[in-house]
């Protein structure tokens, strides 16, 4: 069990680095899919089965497909930023990310009363999740449905081709 966590973490971090730094856009999108699958594996390890399944369904099944479709439609495969002299600007980005990482790690280490692992085996039934979602979390549920409808309509309208006005 312990090895599983370290292997999955290595896969997640390695593919995330590849996803944001590779020159070829398709490889970036596919490495991002590997990151999403690794995150889902981590959710299964943390005994959140339902969320792991939702992660695979939505991120790998829909978001990654959307990203690949957009890459294909915009035809900019070898990203045009790799001209001479532009690579050194990455040092600013690395510096910022390292500062943020340092702040996060320092704040994690300074916590004294983080919880320990209480129960070794906990399974949440989907019936309980559904009931909770429709009683305590009813307002976010309705708002999410409105949001998804708005995203659906907005996405279609934004990417609709303008009809040529001909007489």
């Amino acid at each position: 069990m312990i090895f599983a966590f370290y292997i999955i973490s290595a896969i997640i971090l390695g593919s995330a680095v590849l996803a944001v730094s590779h020159r070829n856009l398709i490889y970036c999108a596919l490495s991002a899919s590997v990151t999403f699958i690794g995150t889902a594996a981590l959710f299964f390890l943390l005994k959140a089965d339902f969320i792991g399944v939702v992660q695979i369904l939505i991120y790998v099944g829909a978001v990654a497909t959307l990203i690949l479709f957009t890459i294909m439609l915009t035809k900019d495969i070898v990203s045009r930023e790799y001209y001479v002299g532009q690579k050194r600007k990455w040092s600013y980005g690395i510096l910022t990310a390292a500062c943020v990482l340092g702040v996060l790690i320092a704040s994690i280490r300074s916590q004294t009363n983080l919880p320990e692992l209480v129960t070794a085996d906990r399974q949440v039934s989907m019936v309980a999740l559904g009931k909770e979602m429709l009683t305590s979390f009813l307002l976010p549920f309705e708002v999410i449905s409105l949001l998804l409808t708005a995203a659906l309509i907005g996405g279609i309208i934004i990417s609709l081709e303008e009809k040529k006005k001909s007489s």
Binding site: F5, S9, I12, L13, A16, A19, V20, L25, C28, A29, A32, T39, L42, F43, L46, A48, F50, I51, Q55, I58, Y59, A62, V63, L66, I67, F69, L73, T74, D76, S79, R80, E81, Y92, G93, I94, T96, A97, L101, L104, I105, I108, L114, P115, E116, L117, V118, T119, V124, L129, E132, M133, F137, P140, I144, L147, L148, A151, G155, I158, S159
Partner: protein, 103 residues
């Protein structure tokens, strides 16, 4: 001999930093969106880790993550629609080249 929660939090923080690096440095709009998605994944790992290491009375962690995944999916859909619409006008997905207001 189980994994302390700090390991999960370190992984989440590192993933967040990598996503941040991608969103800041790259100039292709699609890779920026990928960076944003990676950052959201990091936040979800954090939420589920805290849910797991707490007592199991509340399901807030899981449901929060569920709504977060839904929001991220909606956002990436609209974001990619905008990228396609901008590409039609400027013929480029490089965010440095999109600098006029009139389309």
């Amino acid at each position: 001999m189980s994994i302390p929660i700090t390991h999960y939090l370190f992984v989440s923080a590192a993933l967040f930093a990598i996503g941040l690096f991608g969103a800041i440095t790259r100039r292709n709009a699609i890779i920026i969106l990928i960076g944003i998605e990676i950052m959201m994944n990091a936040a979800n790992i954090n939420l589920i880790a805290f849910w797991r290491y707490s007592d199991g009375t509340r399901l807030t962690g899981q449901l929060f993550t569920f709504f977060g995944i839904a929001i991220a999916a909606a956002e990436v859909a609209v974001g990619l629609a905008i990228v396609i619409a901008v590409y039609r006008v400027y013929k480029s997905t490089n965010v440095n080249e999109v600098h006029d207001m009139k389309g």
